[in-house]
């Protein structure tokens, strides 16, 4: 699934508007613990979190995450968005909680897998 499809289907708001959203992902990791995300997120992952601390960019950048989804409409400050843009990290805003966002993504990925069979 591409980030573009993800944005349209949930739907999500793209905060890093200068970045392209053609990248794709096949898995999701949900966590607010940076150490857990650092261990588990890969370039194939979208990372769902309510952490809006600057350090999330470091983790996403090192692990080359396909995108970060911030739950609960948790708007980060402008500084974080502009730094994300510089680093090429896609940041998306979800109006749902991490539980709901994860639930919906789980269903979407499952349907996609079934569709490909």
């Amino acid at each position: 699934m591409t980030i573009q499809q993800l944005i349209e289907q949930l739907p999500l708001q793209l905060l890093t508007t200068q970045l392209n959203v053609n990248g794709s992902f096949h898995d999701v990791y949900t966590s607010d613990l940076l150490s857990a995300a650092l261990a588990k997120v890969t370039e194939d992952h979208v990372w769902v979190t309510v952490q809006v601390h600057q350090n999330i960019l470091g983790v996403a950048s090192i692990k080359q995450a396909a995108a970060i989804i911030l739950s609960e409409n948790l708007m980060p400050d402008k500084d974080l968005v502009s730094k994300a843009q510089e680093k090429g990290i896609v940041i998306l805003l979800s109006p749902y909680t991490s539980f709901e966002t994860s639930g919906m993504l789980y269903n979407m990925l499952k349907e996609e897998k079934n569709g490909n069979k």
């Binding site: 309510v50 952490q51 809006v52 601390h53 600057q54 400050d77």
Partner: protein, 153 residues
């Protein structure tokens, strides 16, 4: 609004919070919630108060040198909480009130704290909010009123 703060009550309770000790965070908030249950047996009201005290307690435990105190004053229609410490104070108040900004150490983050929304939580849930901070310490005063609905704020 500050001038209207009443000071006449004989129901005052004091709780001490130890500094730089993360594993007991929330224990004073629990004690306060249990104590207040005798005065205001309303779940949603007690949750709102409990959350605010929890955040105030977390701030004292994570961000002070010597810990601090939480004073609970009970009035007929409200509870006033005063959290005090003796330093080091907040360098930048505006930043401290920005969601996501936190100076909490990584060791606190691993325990699920330091998300940078604590003071905001209190500000949003409390009906009265006042904070002052200098190198000599921080004083946080907030009130939670019993009679209204938090969704209208």
């Amino acid at each position: 609004m500050e001038n209207t703060l009443s000071t006449t009550t004989d129901k005052v309770f004091l709780y001490d919070v130890i500094g730089a000790q993360f594993d007991t965070i929330g224990s004073k908030a629990l004690a306060v919630k249990k104590m207040l249950n005798d005065y205001f047996p309303k779940n949603d009201y007690l949750r709102r108060l409990g959350v605010c005290v929890f955040e105030a307690e977390a701030n004292l435990a994570i961000h002070t040198i010597h810990g601090g105190s939480i004073e609970v004053m009970i009035f007929s229609d409200r509870v006033r909480i005063t959290a005090k410490d003796d330093g080091p104070g907040m360098k930048d108040m505006k930043k401290a009130l920005t969601p996501g900004f936190s100076t909490a150490p990584e060791s606190a983050r691993q325990l699920g704290f330091g998300g940078g929304v604590g003071l905001n939580n209190i500000k949003r849930f409390a009906d009265y909010f006042y904070i002052e901070s200098s190198k000599k310490g921080t004083t946080l005063i907030f009130e939670v009123w019993n009679d209204d609905d938090p969704t209208t704020h």
